[in-house]
């Protein structure tokens, strides 16, 4: 037995060592960041410069079916099923033209993630060299006045054996609740034809919208802004399969500026932005846009005292649960923003939300 091996997990803080000089923090940071995986929405995004590199890199999809790949990408364990997540059989392409088929779809009240496969893709379609080659053309919801507010399509994988491209299509939709079906046209714009406006219509996809579930905990509890001496009220938590949303009532920006007086913009901006800087800026260096952004963001921080309680008695705290705090928009009657879960949640297993020392029970929203 080696003595040095015994010290593998030994916590040693007592011995004075001669400090090393000349090491560069900047260089270490660069080295670290170079090795960090690129992340977007919790998934690895492959950005590969050349078609050949892409083909070889994404050939890793071989061995996993399109459905397995899509499930892994959406953040659902292989053996799990959710009412919000529906898988479909592929349609067999009739000819050798590129055709689109539905693989699976995840629906929540605010957003849907639809996985599509494109069979017989042209060689350029396998490439991610273009920034925005795929797009949605016409889209309609039936019977509903649902409105598309945002759309983003990204290539997830290319399966060399099946000669199939897997796409992830994120749709942000307002008033989705009443919709039964959603139909949209998938389009592709070759990079060498962007300037003359040529776009290929790959096909139209129709997806059934399942009955959507949403659980809400009504809260009405105070929340102290961590940067400013201002208080808001947390009105409710809404939980969906892929995210939760916080609705707050907060003083308006103008009202807070009025209360702070002449140097309000500098005070607000410095309170937030200087937290992230090594060398604090003088408040007078900030303008009204800095202040507005700072005020908006100052409410969107993860909170100490927040957890989700499950029916089986387990509790998961915010930092273990939410992967990315991405504000989900909306500015009506205060502030409403959301956080995405790193893994999809089965709403049937959730019991309550724990916040500020109190438990608030989640109830289905009819």
């Amino acid at each position: 037995m080696k003595i040095t091996d015994l010290f593998q997990n030994y916590e040693e803080l007592t011995i004075q060592l001669s400090p090393v000089e000349d090491v560069s923090v900047k260089r270490v940071k660069e080295l670290v960041h170079k090795q960090l995986p690129r992340r977007k929405r919790g998934k690895t995004v492959l950005l590969i410069a050349a078609v050949l590199a892409l083909v070889s890199a994404t050939a890793c999809a071989v061995g996993m079916s399109l459905w397995e790949r899509a499930k892994a990408d959406v953040g659902l364990a292989p053996d799990k099923t959710l009412p919000e997540y529906v898988e479909y059989d592929l349609e067999t392409p009739e000819d050798r033209m590129p055709t689109v088929s539905l693989v699976s779809a995840l629906w929540t009240n605010t957003e849907s993630t639809i996985y599509l496969s494109v069979n017989n893709p042209m060689i350029e379609m396998m490439s991610t060299r273009q920034e925005y080659p795929w797009s949605v053309g016409t889209i309609s919801f039936s019977p509903s006045d649902a409105q598309l507010t945002g759309c983003w399509i990204e290539q997830v994988a290319y399966d060399e054996q099946e000669h199939t491209v897997l796409l992830r299509c994120n749709l942000s939709v307002k008033n989705l609740g009443e919709a039964e079906t959603c139909s949209f046209q998938l389009r592709w714009t070759p990079f060498y034809r962007v300037n003359n406006g040529t776009t290929l219509d790959i096909g139209t996809v129709t997806v059934e919208v399942p009955k959507l579930r949403q659980f809400r905990a009504t809260v009405n509890a105070p929340y102290e802004n961590p940067y400013l001496d201002v208080e808001g009220t947390v009105l409710a938590f809404d939980v969906y399969a892929n995210s939760f949303r916080v609705t707050m009532e907060v003083p308006t920006f103008d009202k807070v500026c009025e209360a702070l007086g002449e140097d309000a913009h500098g005070t607000i901006a410095a309170a937030y932005w200087n937290t992230w800087k090594d060398e604090p800026s003088d408040p007078s260096d900030f303008d009204v846009t800095d202040a507005w952004l700072a005020y908006d963001r100052s409410w969107r921080e993860p909170w100490d005292d927040f957890a989700i309680c499950y029916k089986d008695g387990s509790i998961v705290y915010f930092e273990d649960l939410a992967y990315e705090a991405t504000p989900i928009y909306e500015e009506t009657n205060g502030l409403s923003f959301g956080y995405e879960f790193s893994q999809l949640q089965d709403l049937a297993l959730l019991k309550s939300v724990y916040y500020h020392g109190q438990e608030f029970f989640l109830k289905p929203v009819e």
């Binding site: 037995m1 080696k2 003595i3 040095t4 091996d5 015994l6 010290f7 593998q8 997990n9 030994y10 916590e11 040693e12 803080l13 007592t14 011995i15 060592l17 001669s18 400090p19 090393v20 000349d22 090491v23 560069s24 923090v25 260089r27 270490v28 940071k29 080295l31 670290v32 960041h33 090795q35 960090l36 992340r39 937290t275 992230w276 090594d278 993860p302 100490d304 930092e319 273990d320 939410a322 992967y323 990315e324 705090a325």
Partner: protein, 179 residues
Amino acid sequence: MEEARMLRRLKAGKTDALDALIEQYNGYVCTIIRTVLGAQGTLEDVEELASDVFLAIWNHADALWSGKVKAYIGATARNRARSFLRSLGPMEMDLDELPLASPETPEGDALNREQQQLLRAAVDAMGEPDREIFLRYYYYYQTTTEIAALLGRTPENIRLRLCRGRERLKNHLQKEGIV
């Protein structure tokens, strides 16, 4: 950035917290790595190993607890530097072997929390300056000549104290049933 807040953000995958961690602990990490590497390894090696340490922390942020960050980072830095030394070839530590069976641990390598406490007690029980000499030699891989120069003693005296420390450690570990 305040530690608890930094940890929360680190666990949530926020790179600004990683940057704050690097700024705060880079000097400490590099000092440990430089000490363990001694004359071996360049400044670039130190920086690369430091980046490995911070990446490991980033990938295992869940293992970090407020109040224990520095100790955890220090242990990670020491172990990374040690692995690097091992990759260069066999390490000459003629006093490293204890004539005892390996501890009974599930993985066969790291001691569990309770065993770590007993090890700490055994090391603390050596008293000064034996404890410091022991840790400098076995934890930080400083040579007997380096330790002698640092503590104003002769290398022979250091070796003598290390032998004594080894005996005490062996007895303590046997008595406590760790080995």
